[in-house]
């Protein structure tokens, strides 16, 4: 939510009314939109295949709770696994890249290049290599989430203030000590910014993986229900996906808050990517 702070940063010391406005207005808007959607669907007699009213989506969510939950679990576990693997791999590779000038100059342009090309298009290749299954979804997710984490972390690791590094060197700190006590803490906001982009990418990867492998998961439900013209079920699955996405993002935001407080670091940088 660093974005919000940045845009309304002018009045940081806010009175109560302002907080109320900042919370109530958007929520109220969302509520009005949903109400409008419901009313329009009913008065204009929109065919439920085209756009079911929110109440129909709610009915699906309530009645098919067990089935939907069954399909939510694989998507959730794939997302978490994909995110963890992408983060560990991304940070490790960024550390390797920044520790050697040769490695950096050799590999970094390639990694930036990979940022630009539409990696999602490789998904069918992963099916050829790994078959249709959960592994494919996870690997697709890792593959597309990995690059923003590497680039962001690498940027962070080289962004420590030169004065501080000089001080460390003149105090005869070892490379490892400098890394542990200076470079890494300085890089933390960048790492988390990369992870936030990464987690939205992981969701894209998992859903697209499920679209095209069509074995299980919410992506599968969406494709299946869309093919059968059950739009309410599609929307119900999307609601659950949104919950997963926001939940994971929230966990990372919370972790960022805790870790940065632990290191006594600066405020999180805004990750607009």
């Amino acid at each position: 939510m660093a974005l919000l702070d940045a845009i309304s940063g002018a009045d940081a010391a806010v009175p109560n009314g302002r907080i109320l406005r900042l919370v109530l207005l958007p929520l109220g808007f969302a509520a009005v939109m949903i109400a409008l959607w419901q009313i329009l669907c009913q008065t204009l007699q929109v065919r439920p295949i085209l756009l079911p009213p929110p109440s129909a989506v709610w009915t699906v969510l309530r009645d098919n709770y067990a089935i939907l939950l069954d399909q939510t679990l694989p998507t959730l576990s794939e997302s978490i696994l994909g995110f963890v693997v992408a983060s560990v791999l991304g940070v490790a590779i960024a550390v390797a890249l920044t520790s050697s000038r040769w490695l950096r100059e050799a590999l970094y342009p390639g990694i930036v290049m990979f940022q630009l090309i539409p990696k999602i298009a490789l998904a069918p290749l992963f099916i050829v290599w790994l078959g249709v299954g959960e592994t494919t979804s996870v690997v697709v997710a890792v593959f597309i989430a990995f690059f923003p984490i590497v680039v962001s972390t690498a940027t962070g690791l080289v962004s420590a203030k030169p004065e501080v590094l000089q001080l460390c060197k003149s105090l005869t700190a070892s490379e490892w000590q400098i890394f542990r006590m200076v470079r890494f803490p300085y890089a933390l906001p960048y790492i988390f910014a990369g992870m936030k982009v990464g987690v939205t990418m992981v969701m894209i990867g998992v859903v697209v993986g499920e679209f095209i492998t069509a074995q299980n998961g919410l992506g599968y439900i969406i494709m299946f229900a869309a093919g059968a013209g059950e739009t309410a079920t599609v929307l119900a699955a999307i609601v659950l996906l949104c919950v997963i996405g926001l939940g994971l993002y929230g966990v990372i935001g919370l972790a960022e808050l805790l870790v940065l407080r632990w290191f006594g670091g600066e405020a999180p940088i805004s990750g607009v990517i």
Binding site: M1, L3, L4, A6, I7, R21, L22, L25, P26, G28, F29, A30, L50, L51, W102, E105, A106, L107, P109, G110, M113, Q115, L116, I117, P118, I120, A121, L122, A123, P124, L125, I127, V128, W129, T200, M203, I204, V207, V208, F211, I212, L218, G219, I222, M223, A226, G229, T231, V234, L235, A237, I238, L241, C242, G245, L246, Y249, S270, V272, I273
Partner: protein
């Protein structure tokens, strides 16, 4: 990059060589790495007898590209057109909404958190809905790609407009510049870097959106080609299309970067 050969052994000459090598290294090294990777791939695939269904050799892929080039170009045209259309729509709508948000406080308070919310949720999941609404044709893909590339533009542009130096804005007001003039002459140029960083993200998102759209609905385009070749296990074909797609992606991104350079120069800034 002139590498003048000095008299052997003279320390200054060695230094000069060292310096020019260091200057060329960032360009040479990535190319050398890429060549090495391709060579290794070729050797490994041939030596280990990896079936070409699993991993075709780079030479197979190059051959496939050469043969299928007219076909690939044919398929790239609809993909490129859809992407450009989607990007244009996202750029215009995104900047429009960002301007509205910047000038109306209640609207900003109302809309901005919802925009951030949409930025975070997996919008890709909505792709099948666009097919239901707009059919199997190109409008569904364009609309979907515009939908997912719209949010980064709004958010970066809004941040850019809001980040204008307040002192400059006050100066404009005290010089009795109209809102419109101060927007055109101050806010917009100030926001250009942010707007273009949004554009760059939007362009990559637009390509992704069109490809996903082609995966699930299309009869043409590179995404369709990739999926079809993949399901026939013609892996060299898949790779050839991927190369074409990468070229397209980088070219579109390059076009945005070039436009940024041009626009910023026109505004007299680097």
């Amino acid at each position: 990059m002139s590498l003048e050969l000095p008299a052997a052994g003279s320390p200054r000459g060695v230094l000069a060589i060292g310096r020019s090598v260091r200057r060329v290294r960032p360009i040479i090294l990535p190319i050398v790495t890429l060549t090495a990777v391709l060579l290794l791939w070729q050797l490994a695939a041939v030596r280990l007898h990896i079936p070409s269904v699993l991993l075709p050799t780079p030479s197979d892929i190059a051959q496939e590209m050469w043969h299928a080039l007219p076909l690939l170009v044919d398929q790239a045209v609809p993909t490129a057109l859809d992407t450009l259309l989607a990007f244009a729509a996202a750029a215009v709508l995104g900047i429009g909404l960002a301007i509205v948000i910047t000038y109306s406080r209640p609207l900003r308070d109302t809309l901005y958190p919802n925009l951030v919310f949409f930025q975070l949720v997996p919008k890709v999941a909505l792709a099948p809905l666009f097919v239901i609404w707009l059919g199997y044709g190109s409008p569904a893909r364009v609309a979907f790609a515009a939908f997912i590339s719209f949010f980064p533009v709004v958010i970066s542009a809004a941040l850019g407009f809001a980040g204008t130096d307040p002192a400059v804005l006050r100066l404009c007001r005290s010089l009795t510049a109209s809102e419109w003039r101060s927007f055109l002459l101050v806010r917009f140029p100030f926001a250009l870097p942010a707007i273009f960083s949004g554009f760059k993200v939007a362009m990559t998102m637009a390509v992704v959106g069109v490809i996903i759209g082609e995966f699930i609905s299309s009869q043409a385009g590179l995404g369709h080609y990739i999926l079809r070749a993949g399901s026939r296990l013609e892996t060299a074909d898949v790779f050839a299309a991927l190369v074409a797609l990468s070229v397209l992606g980088v070219a579109l991104y390059g076009a945005v970067a070039l436009a940024e350079l041009g626009v910023r120069r026109a505004y007299g800034r680097r």
